[in-house]
Symmetry: C2
Subunit: 666 residues, 2 copies
């Protein structure tokens, strides 16, 4: 049944409210609803958050949307992790109705004494509702008392009596202490608040076998890095300001049908194979590749990372090499074909003979428990973040189950979905519990594409998925980086670091690695997926051939600016140039005042300087149309005085992006 | 929990599925859903309708949307009135997967014999599933048997074996008899099917007191029409092809604070007052105005209408004149103000002192039961259609209750919502049960506005409300009619009659009545709301000063063309002229083939001839891009050969609109 004051089209709802909306501790969450009623009387609307402790938080008044009739909105902030819910509450607002009517009727001489009598009766009800033990209420009571006296004082002119009742102080008390009639509740609807790192994180990916690997210059033979040698790289990662270090699979690599360098089919005896071809006689998903070290070494690596403020994220790739122990112990976890063989992965007519995909339907409970066991094993070794490989090739219901099981006991454990597929599955993976998601960001390079996509991830899908903008991955070297020169790397880093509260870099990006295996491909030449890459970080630093200082600065700016740590606070602004992208992000204090605002201006053309005029949506920055203010470029340290319309010149050979701290002069 | 094959974002859902979606007996209803799965295997999706009898109808296969990934759609048709529901069913489709893979692998020489073995095994399952008692299945079984033989015949070339399995006959059997695995069900969700008149209706509104009224030429005195005299007008209404005759309130009219002509405040003793100021010493909502006659007269009027194929719609206006019997018997059904007086209707600072609005909150149950009693009283006198006055000024929950109560016992009774207010309330009134809704049509006159609005009512809101396009009402004489000349009346009639399956005309439209009470007003001069209007229909007919033949032709065309009787079947087409609007409607037979298609081309500029090129969306008409076809203008009888691009000239002083029957030549 519809309520007395109808409340409809509540957001955020995920899958009709059957799944919780995405929320984060400390992150303002917008709740909206269509609230309306019969006739002309006024109404009020509020949102109530109910915490994981079952306690109802103080209500937050909803405000009317400026452009959409009957649309109301409030921003609420979960203050602890866990399963929250929210209700929308609406009520008839006789004080508001009185204010509206009195302003029209008293000056027109209609029902004058009656309007004052009604004011008196309503204010009496406000007085009764005030808690005498609350000191704040005492002030309100005094204001109400004076208003009642003004309403009753027939010796004063009507206009003076009305003015007393319309004073800002009285209006404020009426707003804060409304008379609520015909109370109607819609909800509760669920929202799950994760820890802050689920929203705000800076990822760095490296292959531990490459870090500290050495090449014998005489034989050309490469010796694998180990957890011990790789842990030495953690200092540099932490110094760049990253907070999650993500390792591709660290398990034994299959020997059967192993791939050679550059995805070839005829490996030599020293070739390492792909870490995603998991499992050999040395063990499966619960084992460590012997070249990398032991569990003790791994624990030491995790410990060193923790000391540096880094969390270690492991890859969870649910597939097996043909010599994975599961293949003999649990052949039912794979697909057996009509000829009795186990099905390889394939994309017909192509076959991937180094990998067997897992079949989740022959023994759902068996495979579920095994995956849970593996996840818990690594959790017990300090892993609280997993990057899940190709989750879109496994049943969605499996992930819903797994993530719920883990969340039940360990709500701090985070999962990043590496799904590059169509929107329905991408969004559904977020909806059923993935904390973060890879996105289409690498393929959004034009200004109009970025505008559309930033709007989409910040607003349209923010209840479903938290984006992580990786600038590159071992699978994705976009043509923009292949052909854009060093400026392209700066552009993409600035966009990722400022456009999304979570971003990621795969090692080598800072060295401008940009050579693809062949024209038209997004695969790296000599990809680290199939071979160890020996890099001389020190030489690059010495010779200044590195973007590390720029990445470091971006992460510093992200830590300094609360607005860059949030998702749902992005606005697009206008520039006259088709290559100059402008967006801003703002953070508000608990009173709703803007405490931090950043304007990002990026020339997305890495080949030419652009000069243009930037036109700001001043309201989005909490500014008046004619305000002037100082902006401080966090990249270069320069200051300018800006207003609604500003000249900008961005030369990609110098700096392709402004990251402007808005400093209020008022 | 998410299902094995995820099914999300199902439409049509109203208020999260808590209210039934609008459906009509015989009207194809589109059901859509996002259906997707892990990996590359194929899936199938179907819709199942469940009838009010609880019986599941044969499933209808969903087809993939051409442009939106993972979006599926099926059109289903409720075949009886009542509370239906629908489910979306999805399943893994191993036959589809086999077809996809075999087409790639067999020609590439990959797994050739294995693919044929799998075909054999799958087709064996199809064979087992066929019902041997069903003659249609026997043919299918023969096709499958031959396919199996081809698959097993190793003496034939691989390409020939594959071709046999890929033949249209085999593909057809595979599509009609799929192997369904991992079956997943989403729903059921409700849809309520009303009788056909809820969707397809032609309304004519007249004031019975005006029909057969006479003016004494000497005294100027007017004698009211009666049900007896008004019933003589029914023949003409029926002859014009209308099927619902709607009467403004027929109850006693209040004498206290009665309004005079043109909404003046000082009526003379002979002034009739507004029929919407209901109630006097002669009775209230359950009484008949003494001037109109008795209940016997009313019954005779309804009977005559029925004989002519007309249903009588009464006005349900829940408000009272100050001398309505309720005011003394049930003062609690009104609002008493602080000074002890009953509140008049007002729009501050304006007061409407001839009307007391009803208060639904003092005695909700009492007022509810009284309204239900009144509705049932008129139902018992043959009224099965109500036009509800200003429903948006009464609580939404009241309407939900009333309409459910009536629907429970009398599902044929229809309610039209006369709400001209913001979209949220308009849509919510439809959502809680109103069968038809007045719309913004009268205020949509430019081509771009009409394109947008036709799309909105036909598609975006069709699950919530069924539009009724009135060309005029006693309250709305749009400037387009005031200043557009006779062409404007033709334009608006053609747009309403063809643009919406339900349309309406208020008496006088066919006489081109177009004079407003003052410039800038939409009120008629000498409005029938406040006085009786004596019209000489016969003289107008004799002198040809009438649009009645045009209205008659439009209603004939509507009856002849199934496509014009439906709502969700409208497509907008393109013309190069900013005043030439083009849309089409199609109707399909049970097999999905188009059985009727109409293209409507309207010059919405009543002041100038327009010539332009019309560009058709051929797919929307079920045509190929290069097809030619004959169109027959149902207004003028002319024939032309059309194709995707067509020259059109429309002169409003001749005919402003083409209504083109698409005649297939293929």
């Amino acid at each position: 049944m519809v309520g007395r004051i109808p409340i409809m089209n509540v957001t955020p709802l995920v899958d009709l409210g059957r799944q919780p909306a995405k929320a984060t501790v400390g992150e303002p969450l917008p709740v909206t609803a269509s609230v309306f009623r019969e006739g002309h009387d006024q109404l009020g609307a509020e949102v109530v958050l109910i915490g994981p402790d079952g306690r109802r938080r103080p209500t937050v008044r909803m405000t009317k949307h400026a452009d959409v009739p009957d649309r109301y909105e409030a921003w609420v902030v979960p203050d602890a992790p866990g399963a929250w819910s929210f209700e929308v509450v609406a009520w008839s607002d006789p004080l508001g109705t009185w204010q509206h009517d009195a302003a029209l009727k008293v000056p027109a001489g209609v029902d004058v004494e009656l309007m004052f009598t009604e004011a008196h009766l309503l204010l009496d009800r406000v007085l009764t509702s005030l808690d005498p033990r609350d000191p704040a209420s005492a002030g309100a009571a005094q204001v109400v008392q004076s208003a009642i006296e003004a309403a009753r004082d027939t010796t004063r002119p009507d206009a003076a009596r009305l003015a007393a009742l319309e004073s800002p102080e009285v209006a404020d008390v009426m707003y804060r202490h409304p008379v609520r009639e015909l109370l109607t509740v819609e909800g509760p609807y669920p929202a799950y608040a994760d820890r802050e790192r689920a929203l705000f994180s800076s990822w760095y990916e490296f292959f531990p076998r490459s870090e500290g690997a050495t090449r014998d210059e005489k034989t050309g033979r490469v010796t694998s890095g180990t957890f011990q040698t790789a842990s030495k790289r953690l200092d540099a990662v932490a110094a760049m300001g990253f907070d999650i270090v993500y390792l591709p699979p660290i398990h034994p690599i299959g020997e059967v049908n192993r791939k050679g360098p550059n995805n070839t089919l005829d490996p030599g005896p020293d070739d390492t194979g792909s870490p995603w071809a998991i499992g050999s006689k040395d063990g499966g998903h619960d084992a460590i590749h012997p070249d990398l070290g032991t569990f003790e070494d791994f624990d030491a690596f995790v410990g060193r990372a923790r000391d540096l403020g880094l969390e270690v994220a492991l890859d969870l790739a649910l597939q097996a090499a043909p010599d994975h122990p599961w293949v003999t112990s649990h052949p039912e976890w794979f697909t057996t074909r009509a000829d009795g063989t186990i099905a390889y992965a394939e994309n017909p007519p192509k076959k991937y003979q180094d990998i067997y995909p897992v079949n989740f339907d022959n023994d759902p409970s068996g495979i579920c428990q095994e995956v849970l066991r593996i996840v818990r094993l690594w959790m017990s070794h300090g892993v609280r973040v997993f990057r899940v490989d190709n989750p879109h090739t496994k049943p969605l219901a499996f992930w819903e189950w797994l993530l719920r099981e883990v969340r039940r006991t360990d709500p701090d454990v985070l999962f990043l979905a590496e799904a590059f597929t169509r929107p329905a599955m991408m969004q559904a993976l977020g909806a059923v519990g993935f904390h973060q998601s890879y996105t289409y960001f690498t393929w959004r390079n034009a200004k109009w594409e970025l505008e559309e996509y930033l709007r989409e991830v910040s607003h349209e899908t923010s209840h479903l998925m938290r984006p992580n903008f990786f600038v590159n991955t071992p699978d994705i070297l976009h043509a923009f980086l292949q052909y854009g020169g060093p400026a392209a790397f700066k552009i993409r880093a600035a966009l990722a670091a400022c456009g999304s509260p979570s971003w990621g870099v795969y090692a080598g990006f800072e060295l401008f690695e940009h050579v693809a295996v062949k024209p038209g491909s997004e695969e790296y030449l000599d990809s680290e997926k199939y071979q160890i890459r020996v890099r001389d970080w020190d030489a690059a630093d010495r010779e200044g051939r590195t973007l590390a200082p720029y990445l470091t600065r971006l992460n510093e700016i992200r830590r300094a600016h609360r607005s860059l740590q949030l998702l749902r606070n992005l606005s697009i602004h206008w520039s006259d140039d088709e290559n100059v992208l402008v967006f801003s992000k703002v953070a508000r204090d608990p009173s709703g005042a803007i405490e931090d605002a950043v304007i990002v201006v990026v020339n997305v053309d890495p080949h030419a300087a652009r000069e243009t005029t930037v036109h700001l949506d001043m309201a989005a920055l909490g500014l008046e149309e004619h305000d002037a203010f100082v902006v401080h470029d966090e990249i270069t340290g320069e200051d300018w005085t800006w207003s609604a319309h500003n000249y900008v010149r961005l030369d990609p050979f110098h700096e392709p992006a402004h990251v402007l701290d808005v400093r209020r002069t008022r």
